[in-house]
Symmetry: C2
Subunit: 242 residues, 2 copies
DNA sequence: CGTTATCTTGACGTACATCAAATGTCGTGG
DNA sequence: CCACGACATTTGATGTACGTCAAGATAACG
């Protein structure tokens, strides 16, 4: 679990030009003709499932951009309590939330592929490309909005409301570009979901069962959820009714 | 409460040059010689205690910088549940956390003074001054770190731990520049504190009483707290011990 | 000095946590 | 192919920290 298993990937001639993640990432702030500069400053790495690649409290030496897979970002208390502050999917830019040290740790949930940017090189690019700086500010602002939404969830919503909110949010995040699909894949475990929603694994499991019994979702497999009734789920999530 | 009472202040010849908030605000990204540009784009306003000056869901037309007083930023659920996502003190820049609408509402807690920037004018200044854009990104990143810290608090800490964390954070925020003062002023009500910490007013009150009984704080008045034992408070806040 | 809002304290209820066991799932090797 | 063990998930029984309801106490204000 705590063993790091981070493997540099074979170098590709034009990694950024053919990057699947670019449309969803900060990298699309860089125009096609400047793409070589970006490619020259990036190292592609693969991280095995369960491996840690950012450690809370350490010096922030790199930024990352997710090109494949899912990561969990989390903070720990000394006695082992964990709070997941977010999941990073394709296109997610990691490392903005750092002061003199990283503010959270990050682990791969499934086989993960990342682009790694050294901080000095990234700062140099930012200085050269105002559009990149602008995009990073917008990204940070957007993350801030999501963080405040999560504060509302953690501080004031019931377990049922949290679950409904989570399922809809996961559905939305998996529908970048595409139309929202009825069936949602949950790469993270029940315990991950619990630590993201401020609950226990048992409560998440019970809540899922209850939503299924109520006909709002189907659970063909534990990690696959079909949203049968988005409208009612949304009403629950926003507390518009019971 | 919902009545807006926002009064434009008399125009001052050099509002920014003599601004008390500048050292703590994003405005210090603008050099002295460019200060006239900043001053030309700002309107100083006063907001009466209890008045709302940002409404969640409305079009984001302005940015604000606090020059005096304290504001609460909050989100509401339809049934009246409230989550305060932060308190804005002198130097705080408001409005970054907005997408197509404001992500939260904001009200004055005590008599408040603000500098108002129209968004188009602010964006123009950002385009002219790369240092300003850079500063805004850093501000957003710092807020993000604080938001994630608050997620840990809301999701995983006990009432006692939340209170200890809150008192220390308030102490730190009031000591911008100066050395941390032993006695902390709490301009917000118990209910505000409760809605910030994901608790009820009663639980906050009980928790304060318990901390006082344990000798960790003194409460000469309800809105004035003396931190008698920072080390133990910090240990409680970070769950280093009971 | 009444009036009203805030804060404190008490009695009781409950949503979720904790503890524990059963069930299901998957990879490994015989 | 199937038996085995490890681990994730589900389900059940019970506990508790905090919420809810309600009554005083204290302070602010005309």
């Amino acid at each position: 679990m705590s063993v790091r298993q981070i493997i540099p990937m074979v170098h590709c001639a034009q990694p950024c030009a053919s990057c699947e993640a670019r449309p969803y990432s900060v990298c699309n702030a860089i125009s096609d003709q400047d793409l070589a500069v970006l490619a020259a400053n990036v190292v592609q790495v693969a991280v095995a499932a369960g491996s840690t690649f950012i450690v809370e409290g350490e010096k922030p030496v790199d930024f990352y951009s997710v090109t494949r897979g899912t990561a969990r970002m989390f903070k720990m208390l000394p006695d082992g309590r964990r709070q997941i502050v977010g999941f990073a999917h394709i296109g997610h830019f990691l490392g903005l939330a750092a002061t003199d040290t990283y503010g959270f740790s990050a682990e791969a949930i499934d086989p993960l592929e990342l682009c790694r940017f050294s901080r000095p090189r990234m700062e140099a690019m930012i200085a050269d490309f105002p559009a990149l700086e602008r995009r990073l500010r917008q990204t940070a602002a957007h993350e801030l909005v999501l963080a405040q939404e999560q504060m509302l969830l953690l501080g004031r919503k019931t377990a049922r409301e949290r679950l409904a909110s989570f399922l809809l949010a996961q559905s939305a995040v998996q529908a970048v570009g595409r139309a929202p699909l009825a069936t949602v894949h949950l790469p993270m475990s029940r315990l991950d979901i619990a630590d993201y929603l401020g609950l226990t694994g048992e409560t998440v499991s019970r809540g899922m069962t209850k939503l299924r019994q109520d006909g709002l979702i189907s659970l063909p497999e534990p990690d696959r959820v079909v949203l049968n009734d988005r409208a009612t789920l949304a009403a629950i999530a926003n507390a518009d009714l019971g």
